[in-house]
Symmetry: C2
Subunit: 248 residues, 2 copies
DNA sequence: CACCTAAATTGGTTATACCAATTTTGCTAA
DNA sequence: TTAGCAAAATTGGTATAACCAATTTAGGTG
């Protein structure tokens, strides 16, 4: 059997074909692909090659295979990005500080967009969270509320891409974030400091004051950065390693 | 043959195993994995499953398969992220404005980091680019210099993750960026405006003045945003579609 | 020692068979 | 007729075995 392409491996050619298939709108999200055996016939290759192509499409988040049912077009790319970024850390030894700076970039932009786009309901929600944080006793509650606060602000940006990537980043370093959050939030000296800054952040958003919002968020980041710098050797990779070592 | 895991498919389990293999440092970047037939024996599964796992690792950028030679650990995740993000656009209809806001987030952070980290040599380079831009006649040259300017600033941030992601973003929307850059840079009213802002950007970096840098970059973004808003219907997807339709 | 060729190694692909989950079909009973 | 259930068909998941194609290795030759 002749190959579809001189240079490309068969499964790569198949991927492109199926991609084009999807992009041209012949198949829309949610729809089912033809059965593997049929695809094999149609593309005139073995089912194995079809499956290798489908595997990569699956890892890219383009499709989802369901045994006994079929291969469905999806749009779930978060998983794929999470995988990629995780691997990126694993092999490139990107340190925590760099990672958090990346995250800060998005959080800050989200905040600046929120200044323009936030509505009164979200403001109320933020104020509620703040109030709960103030009267929370245990570190676990504070940690959960802290997470909620940041997510609410991100959502107020109304930029779905930034929201999605922030979610992904949280996933990638959830272990790391959790640990650090609890570290930082369990230090009694920080509790008040952070509470104040959180209040500043929300207040400046309420006032739709861009400059104050920028200042408040920057201050917030500085506290985090301070913590990370003191544990410079604590590479994020260690955390991620633990994630995977479970199933070795 | 019993499956390695109750819930996971075999090839997924294999992926995890090989990942762990990599993470534990048993295999470092550049090294060769054991042959597929050997891996199959070691993991007690078929070569088929091994290969499906290797395909996904390849698409993730973790390995590279070379026929006749072997599977090598690499660290080339850009390709994978580009793929993921491209697909993200294709199926999710993220519009240009959102995308550029995402980009701005990283550019701004890069600039703010550059304020702290930039050295005199990079400053000189930026000034040279500015000078060239001032005396450039054609739009193509200005466009190339503009790109160079932004890349140099990004590099000055010294945050490899931000630099990488910015590169990836450029790749993903290179068509779009090129088109808009030339649109914006070909309008005679903008040439002077942009030249001034670029000078502000570089000058504020030279002064290591964070506030001024922030102001300059924000002003720069506003010009871009202004342009994009007036062409709101111009979805980025169109550009990317064209990228792929070639091989249909 | 350098070079070339043949053999061995290793990834790429195909074909077939069977397992496992889901879906469909069609019968049975209420 | 219809609701429910069980068998059959469909469809993805895995395993073997065989062969192709590129690379690497080994061995021999000049």
């Amino acid at each position: 059997m002749e190959k579809n392409d001189n240079s490309k491996k068969t499964y790569e050619a198949i991927i492109d074909s199926i991609k084009t298939y999807i992009m041209n709108g012949k198949i829309k999200a949610g729809q089912k692909l033809p059965p593997e055996r049929e695809l094999a016939k149609k593309f005139n290759v073995s089912r194995t090659s079809i499956r290798e192509a489908l595997r990569t499409l699956e890892i890219l988040g383009a499709i989802k295979s369901v045994q006994g049912s079929g291969n469905y077009i999806t749009g779930d790319f978060e998983k794929s990005l999470i995988e990629s970024m995780s691997m990126m850390f694993l092999l490139q030894q990107i340190d925590s500080l760099e990672f958090y700076q990346f995250r800060e970039a998005l959080e800050l932009k989200a905040a600046m967009l929120a200044v323009r786009n936030i509505d009164d309901e979200k403001i109320r929600k933020l104020e509620e969270i703040l109030a709960e944080m103030a009267r929370s006793e245990d570190e676990a509650t504070r940690s959960a509320l802290d997470k909620q606060l940041h997510e609410t602000i991100a959502a107020a940006s109304k930029n779905s891409m930034i929201i999605q990537i922030l979610n992904i980043l949280s996933e990638v370093i959830s272990q790391d974030i959790k640990q650090r959050r609890s570290e930082i939030l369990s230090d009694p000296r920080n509790i008040n400091r952070l509470q104040k800054i959180h209040e500043e952040m929300v207040f400046s958003l309420k006032q739709r004051d861009a400059q104050a919002t920028y200042a408040a968020f920057t201050k917030h980041f500085d506290i985090i950065a301070e913590y990370i710098r003191t544990n410079e050797n604590n590479q994020i990779n260690n955390q991620i390693n633990n994630l995977y070592n479970e199933n070795s």
